[in-house]
């Protein structure tokens, strides 16, 4: 008898719970690395957690980590789409075609692809204007360097990375025309040992500031050990190099993720392209290190942040020349998004050539 009651009760509970969750939206994420990388994927995962907290019970989230940027990505994305997810974020540039492939098979599922440029009715793209942060650190580096040599460790020659180098150099050269940047291409996003080697090589060649566009905190650690300064990447890395870390450029995805999830819940989601920076809070600077930076420089940096938000300062203000000395952005103008999105050249003043 008791057994029967319990069975009936549990049956009703199941119905009740499923009714409660019937309109709960399922949101999935595809990550290129582990959420514990303290860089790119970590910040996307922080965005996911922010979204969960903001929307509460109206959504539930899932993620798949360490998804390679090849045919495996199709299987991972399809797995999420086929298991009833309403919105799927694919968080790396080279998931682009794979996202579109699955999106064609599942027209009712919404997709959001990070840093890409191909859209469909059910595929949006979004990215952050990280280069605005590069302008700030370029300014700081130009003022803080004593050897006038800055070491810059980079991953792959793609527009996002080259745009960052240019924005950094333009800001640094503006306050310090003698500044030189030494660039090492590592051809990997993530190899702590190699990143440390590159940092040590640059320091050995006279760099007193290390900038990175790779994913581990090994360069900042190497700088700390050698007693030079550094900027972190993607997330606040102060804990790993407290005496070297001046600030980091942080990627803040949470509010955007929450807004898009809300749009799916409300049924107002539409395909669009989003490219936001300081103004919308998608890029932020970590707290400036008051032990290392003079107060007036911190104020200058904060004013620059505000100026970029207001639109009175732009990272790519003319006149800008390329290495051949040709004028690419006229005086009084700023580089348009088209030029920024496809930027594959160094500005005048940077030594070396963009690798092909």
């Amino acid at each position: 008898m008791i057994r029967k009651i319990l069975t009936t009760l549990s049956f009703f509970t199941i119905i009740f719970v499923s009714a409660l969750h019937a309109d709960q939206k399922k949101i999935g994420f595809i990550y290129i690395g582990p959420p514990g990388d303290h860089g790119w994927t970590y910040m996307h995962d922080q965005g996911r957690i922010y979204m969960e907290n903001a929307l509460g019970d109206s959504i539930s989230t899932t993620y798949i980590e360490n998804v390679p940027e090849n045919a495996d990505a199709v299987r991972a994305i399809r797995k999420l789409a086929a298991s009833g997810h309403d919105l799927i974020f694919t968080t790396s540039f080279n998931y682009m075609d794979q996202t579109l492939e699955v999106a064609k098979e599942f027209p009712d599922v919404k997709f959001e692809h990070a840093t890409g440029f191909k859209r469909m009715d059910n595929v949006s793209t979004y990215s952050a204007r990280f280069y605005e942060g590069r302008t700030i650190i370029g300014h700081i580096a130009g003022k803080m360097t004593k050897t006038n040599t800055i070491g810059y460790i980079v991953s792959f020659p793609i527009p996002e990375v080259i745009r960052g180098i240019n924005a950094f150099y333009l800001a640094a050269a503006k306050v310090n025309p003698d500044v030189k940047i030494k660039i090492i291409w590592n051809y990997s996003w993530y190899d702590p040992g190699k990143e440390a080697d590159a940092a040590n090589t640059l320091i050995n060649q006279g760099a007193d500031i290390i900038v990175q566009h790779t994913d581990s905190y090994a360069p900042c650690q190497a700088a700390e050990k050698a007693g030079v300064l550094a900027f972190g990447q993607a997330s606040n890395q102060e804990a790993f190099c407290p005496n070297a870390h001046m600030t980091s450029i942080e990627d803040i995805w949470g509010p955007y993720y929450a807004a898009k999830a809300q749009a799916v819940v409300d049924g107002t989601w539409g395909s669009e392209d989003t490219w936001q920076g300081f103004k919308d809070g998608m890029v932020e600077m970590s707290p400036y290190n008051t032990k290392l930076l003079p107060l007036d420089l911190i104020l200058e940096a904060k004013n620059m942040e505000t100026a970029i938000e207001n639109g009175t300062l732009h990272s790519f203000e003319g006149p800008i020349y390329n290495q051949a000395g040709e004028l690419v952005v006229k005086e009084g103008e700023v580089a348009d998004d088209g030029m920024l999105a496809g930027m594959m050249f160094y500005v005048q003043g940077i030594d070396g050539e963009v690798p092909q």
Binding site: I184, W185, N186, Y187, A196, D197
Partner: protein, 289 residues
């Protein structure tokens, strides 16, 4: 050229090459006894994560080193049991060990990833790596046990017929290789780039494997080869930093390319191949043959 700059470059080369020497010399001994262990990458990762976790929990470098080595003994002991007692395929088992090590290290290290630690001075280990190469070289050519290892690797049936314990010898060499790999991993996560992050060895296990062939199974050549690989990698960074345009991707594949060239070279001369490669390499041994 500025002398400080040269010393600086040498310094970086020494620091970055040492893990290759450790993993390579261990694998060399394993292969000399006729066993191919493709699990170096997995062993290194588990060694790295075990050392890191122990250091975070105890704050003691000695315990950290100890448990890192223990992880190598356990994992390579498992490998030895599979390939020696159960006579599984060495290549498949080695690959499985790598895949297992990648997954296991990621799982164990999840909570510890991103914990800041104080790194250990790498210079002790650099000195130890040179000493090890000397000792292994002496062992293999000047001691009775070393000659037994080589005999087992050349022709296990003859060695068995002469009364040598093939299985026991191979257990020893496999575990020695495992310990060296985990030491390489420990060095990477505690000295070289003091941190733990998933997959942080980034393919160095495979380079160490290539290195053994490149060195044609000779300890001193292995040391030279490791420093050629490491030196070229650091030199290309230096050239890039002074503005010389280089094909960076080419340098990433250089170790493998060089190994293929050596393979082609030694394979073209049958005698040369026979003199260097252990004849029983990757051939299973069954007592009742």
């Amino acid at each position: 050229m500025n002398i400080d700059l040269v010393i600086g470059i040498l310094n970086i080369v020494l620091i970055s090459t040492t893990p290759l020497v450790f993993a390579g010399i261990g694998e060399l001994v394993t292969e000399k006894s006729g066993v191919l262990n493709l699990g170096l990458e997995g062993l290194m990762l588990v060694g790295a994560v075990t050392g890191f976790i122990t250091l975070v929990l105890t704050g003691n470098y000695f315990y950290s080193l100890f448990f890192s080595i223990i992880s190598g003994v356990i994992l390579s002991g498992m490998f030895a049991f599979l390939v020696l007692n159960l006579i599984t395929n060495q290549i498949a088992t080695g690959l499985a060990l790598t895949i297992f090590g990648i997954g296991l290290s990621a799982m164990l290290g999840k909570k510890f990833s991103g914990t800041p630690i104080e790194g250990l001075n790498p210079y002790y280990f650099i000195v130890i790596s040179f000493l090890l190469v000397f000792m292994v070289s002496y062992f293999l050519s000047n001691t009775k046990s070393g000659l037994i290892v080589r005999a087992v690797g050349e022709d296990h049936n003859s060695a068995y017929a002469l009364g040598y314990n093939v299985i026991k010898t191979r257990y020893m060499t496999i575990i020695f290789g495992g310990v060296m790999s985990s030491l390489a991993g420990f060095y990477i996560s505690i000295c070289y780039a003091p941190m733990w992050q998933e997959g942080m060895t980034a393919g160095r296990g495979w380079i160490a494997l290539a290195l053994v062939v490149f060195a044609t199974w000779k300890p001193w050549r292995l040391l030279v080869g490791a420093y050629i690989f490491g030196g070229v990698a650091i030199m290309q960074m230096n050239l890039q930093a002074i503005g010389v345009k280089l094909p960076g991707q080419f340098f990433n594949m250089m170790p493998y390319l060089a190994t293929i060239i050596v393979l082609v070279f030694i394979s073209s001369n049958k005698l040369r191949l026979r003199l260097s490669a252990p004849a029983s390499l990757n051939i299973p041994f069954e007592k009742d043959q």
